[in-house]
């Protein structure tokens, strides 16, 4: 056996997925041990992903042909600059899982912990597989792993209301999955291949057909549903707000991004096959701009902090989609950087909100007055996250807003530029209310006065993430430089 780094790419999704099967076995002895085991697995996955990222920067993309069958005859996983998204994915999970250790004690009965941790690992494995694979059918399967585990994670803690939210999520999610499957089937029927680039090449070589356009369009619609772009967002707020906070963090920060990764795959397909999606990208931009404003606008009326965070996800997806739709270098780079930044910020916010809810048992702004005094560290993290999500400099959110905006203006789309810049103001209205509540109002509830800072297993991740929001804001250029070559390739293909 010769060790090669590209073979290690295969282990990246397999490690968490196989470990997920072991979680119930570990938990049989001790439910708490399952948490530790899961943490170790996420940590290993993150380490592997980071190691691969370093190889990637040094040597270029790593490709593994599973089973040794060269594409298009086998399944190909690519660890390129887009696939490197799996490194932050695993890292975020490695921060969320320790947070969940203590969080679960108050919200999920002990006998279901094993299932919870297994679902987390399945979710991670699915997300990684989704971002690595360039095989369309494989993409569908990875998406289903993510989806099924997400549906269950939404309902894991709650009772009926959570189940209802999860079912709404499931019904819409399944239709979108079905659209993906249909599109894959259509593309297969047209080309006889399943490898994304092979499909695109064969489409480019054949005569343009409405069927191919239909396939791409239904892929795009499906991913737009997964990404919860504005008019198709209805499933998101309830699901993300009702889920336990570590789950909300994962769902809102990471899982919705499969829609975005999927859209990038559609862009690759369209670019390589020469199918013009002009009308569609116009629509994307318009919906993105509307989503920015509407998501923020709807967030204003929420009293529940998690519901507010959920709506802000809709707004942020608007940023990303607008950036992708603009299809100019700065905007697309900004959008892809925002995929990371939004994940970082949203995980920070949901974990901080989770800490507050866990320590006080309250979740509406009206009840949480004055909590900034009893939970100073957690609330400071929340504040930093809020500043970042609004896009105030020099936080992480600013970098992405800056580049997407720059793209809009340099593409001559001044209206979209202004929509982007001013949409954030709506978001700010809400966060000001939140900050006022936390810091500048007297406590009205005893739970708030009596609250103490959460244990370190919860506080540590929150503080680390909040610090990262700031650091990434200052050194966002590195992210940008990392993603720019990939964007160049993507746009070069689309331009040809």
């Amino acid at each position: 056996m010769t060790f090669s780094w590209s073979q290690a790419v295969a282990w990246l999704p397999v490690l968490p997925l196989a470990a997920a099967a072991l979680v119930p076995i570990v938990a049989q002895r001790n439910a708490r041990a399952a948490g530790g085991f899961t943490f170790v697995v996420t940590l290993l996955t993150a380490a592997l992903a980071v190691a691969l990222t370093i190889r990637l920067v040094a040597e270029g993309p790593l490709t593994v042909h599973l089973g040794g069958w060269v594409a298009p005859y086998g399944i190909e996983l690519r660890f390129d600059r887009l696939g490197a998204w799996s490194a932050p994915l695993a890292t975020f999970f490695a921060l969320v899982v320790p947070f969940a250790w203590r969080y679960l004690e108050g919200s999920v009965p002990r006998e279901r912990w094993a299932a919870f941790y297994a679902l987390m690992l399945l979710n991670l494995g699915g997300l990684i597989g989704f971002s690595l694979t360039v095989d369309l059918f494989n993409l569908f399967l990875a998406m289903e792993v993510v989806s099924i585990s997400s549906y269950a994670l939404v309902a894991v803690a709650g009772r009926g209301t959570a189940a209802w939210a999860a079912l709404k999520y499931l019904l819409l999610g399944s239709v979108s999955s079905l659209l993906v499957l249909f599109a894959v089937a259509l593309l297969f029927a047209l080309t006889g291949s399943l490898n994304l680039f092979d499909v695109a090449a064969r489409l480019a070589a054949s005569e343009p057909s409405p069927a191919a356009t239909l396939a791409l369009a239904s892929l795009a619609v499906a991913f737009v549903v997964k990404a919860a772009l504005f008019p198709l967002h209805v499933w998101l707020p309830d699901a993300h707000a009702i889920a336990p906070s570590p789950v909300s963090a994962v769902l809102s920060g990471l899982v919705v991004k499969i829609g975005i990764v999927g859209l990038v795959r559609v862009m690759q397909l369209a670019g390589e096959s020469g199918i013009a999606l002009d009308v569609f990208s116009e629509l994307l931009m318009l919906l993105g701009a509307v989503a920015i404003v509407m998501g923020a606008f709807l967030a204003i009326f929420q009293d529940d902090i998690k519901l507010m965070l959920a709506y802000s996800t809709i707004s942020n997806i608007g940023y990303i989609v607008l950036g992708l739709g603009l299809a100019v270098p700065f905007a697309v780079s900004g959008a892809l950087v925002h995929v990371f930044n939004h994940a970082l910020i949203k995980v920070t916010l949901f974990l901080a909100a989770g800490s507050i809810i866990h320590q006080t048992g309250l979740r509406t702004l009206t009840d949480l007055r004055g909590v900034g005094r009893t939970l100073p560290q957690t609330c400071a993290a929340m504040t930093l996250g809020a500043m970042a999500i609004v896009g105030l400099p020099p936080t992480a959110g600013f970098i992405s807003k800056w580049y997407i905006g720059l793209g809009a203006f340099s593409a001559g789309r001044v209206a979209y530029g202004f929509a982007l810049v001013f949409g954030a103001l709506f978001v700010f209205i809400y966060y000001v209310r939140m900050l006022n509540t936390f810091y500048f109002q007297r406590a009205t509830r005893e739970e708030v006065v009596a609250a103490v800072e959460p244990p370190w297993s919860m506080r540590g991740p929150v503080i680390a993430l909040a610090a990262a929001c700031l650091i990434v804001g200052l050194f966002g250029g590195i992210l940008l430089a990392f993603i720019t070559p990939a964007v160049g390739e993507l746009l070069a293909a689309m331009g040809s």
């Binding site: 500043m387 105030l392 400099p393 020099p394 600013f398 970098i399 807003k401 800056w402 580049y403 905006g405 720059l406 809009a408 203006f409 340099s410 001044v414 530029g417 202004f418 810049v421 001013f422 954030a424 103001l425 700010f428 209205i429 000001v432 900050l435 006022n436 810091y439 500048f440 109002q441 007297r442 200052l474 050194f475 966002g476 250029g477 940008l480 430089a481």
Partner: protein, 521 residues
Amino acid sequence: MEVLDLRPLLAPLVSFACAALVVVARKNVFWRRFWSLCAAVLKLVVVLSMLPGTLAGAVYHTPVITLSPGVSIAFRADAYGLFFALVTSTLWVVTTIYAIGYMERAEQRARFFGFFAVCVSTTVGIAFAENLLTLLIFFELLTVATYPLVVHAETPEALRAGRIYLTYTMAGGAFVLAGSLMTLSAAGTLSFAHAGILGLDAGRATLAVIFMALVIGFGVKAAIMPLHGWLPIAMVAPTPVSALLHAVAVVKAGVFGITRVIYNVFGADLLGELGFASYLGALAACTILVASVMALRQDQLKRRLAYSTISQLAVAVLAASLLTPLAALAAVVHLANQAFAKITMFFGTGAVREMTGKTHASQLAGIGRQMPYTMGAFTVAALSFVGLPLFAGFKTKWYLSLGALHADAWWFLVVMLLSSLLNAAYWFPIIHRAYYGQRVAQPERSGRRQGAGLDVDRDAAGATAASAGGKREAPLVLLVPTLICAAYVILLGTTAAVPGMPTSIALIAVYETFGLAGPVR
């Protein structure tokens, strides 16, 4: 000559560090005060240490982070920036002392002094910003850092004021962001240059949009008339905050931003060709007059001060928009002149309120006999605003008028004259009443300091307080800063060689901008 140096970065960092230390010190009064003062002095020293070099023609710059080509966070202390930094950091020392006295019994002092330090830090950051991005970053930070100070009282009124303040300034920030982005896509860079970075090739319409976005953005902070709504309302903040932030740091940052836009982003030549500046000038002229009239109608002192501030800021904006060297000089020196005069007035008002609880102009009868030094300083500032020779305000008006004549803007002289008259109309009655007015026998609200003795001054004051009309001067911590500022007002008006704030730097700034042969080169 460009010199690589850490000091432009160090200056804002000092007070960031201080903010952290203040928060760490928290309950410990001594260390909190120590760190606050320490940082103020240290920063002044850092800024002052750059003065000789700048006078010799050096420009210190510190690149920090490059985000992408043409976009970086970098600091650069040119003459104009240094001048602005000198004004703020000198005033910070003074205000810190005042604030220590004033906030003695307020709640949440750690938060107050922490954010106070951050505010000043960001102001210096604005002064030393090398490009629009850095400027924008500190501009937004300033907004955020001021907010806790505005809502410090945590009353519903303060929260409402805070909300209005944020709405205005965040919208302003968004305009600056949009303007910066458009500038970047039109010019390919954001670094300020003496001749401007934009060119006619960007297209007149684009340039108009950029100009409007940037001027509106900075104009919100500079409180140009239709955008001024937040300033009077934000006066609910404690007096040192109103003084430093709403007479100096925040609003001056706006004016500073506008001048940067006019001279270093567009450039005097380009703007002269485009003619946008004259609209801005007209707007500023209106602001001067309307705000003065509004000030006349305010009885509450701080609100009157606020409208006076609006009017005075517009003077600087108007001067900058005339695009002639002398007017530009006026705009630069006005930064200092107005700041010192206005802060003197705020200090005086704050002291009066502290001692007697009086907040309205109509209540001030006889106060001049009670607090002679405080009201003396107040009078000096008022005279400066009216524009009497030997006071700082006169210098501004002098250069401005000369500049206006150069620009053939005779109407501007009329505006100046009217403004002086209006200033006289709203300051002199107060002074008159203070010295000659008879105290009406009314049940007055008592000042916060009556009765409870904390320092020596107050004991004396408290003892005499009972006898109406007796002397009850403010304690030294409040009085000394007031007097220092008043002294500066006179110094600035009489001599060019004010320690720390020589007119020659302002001259260098103007020479640099207009590409003239400077006095030292």
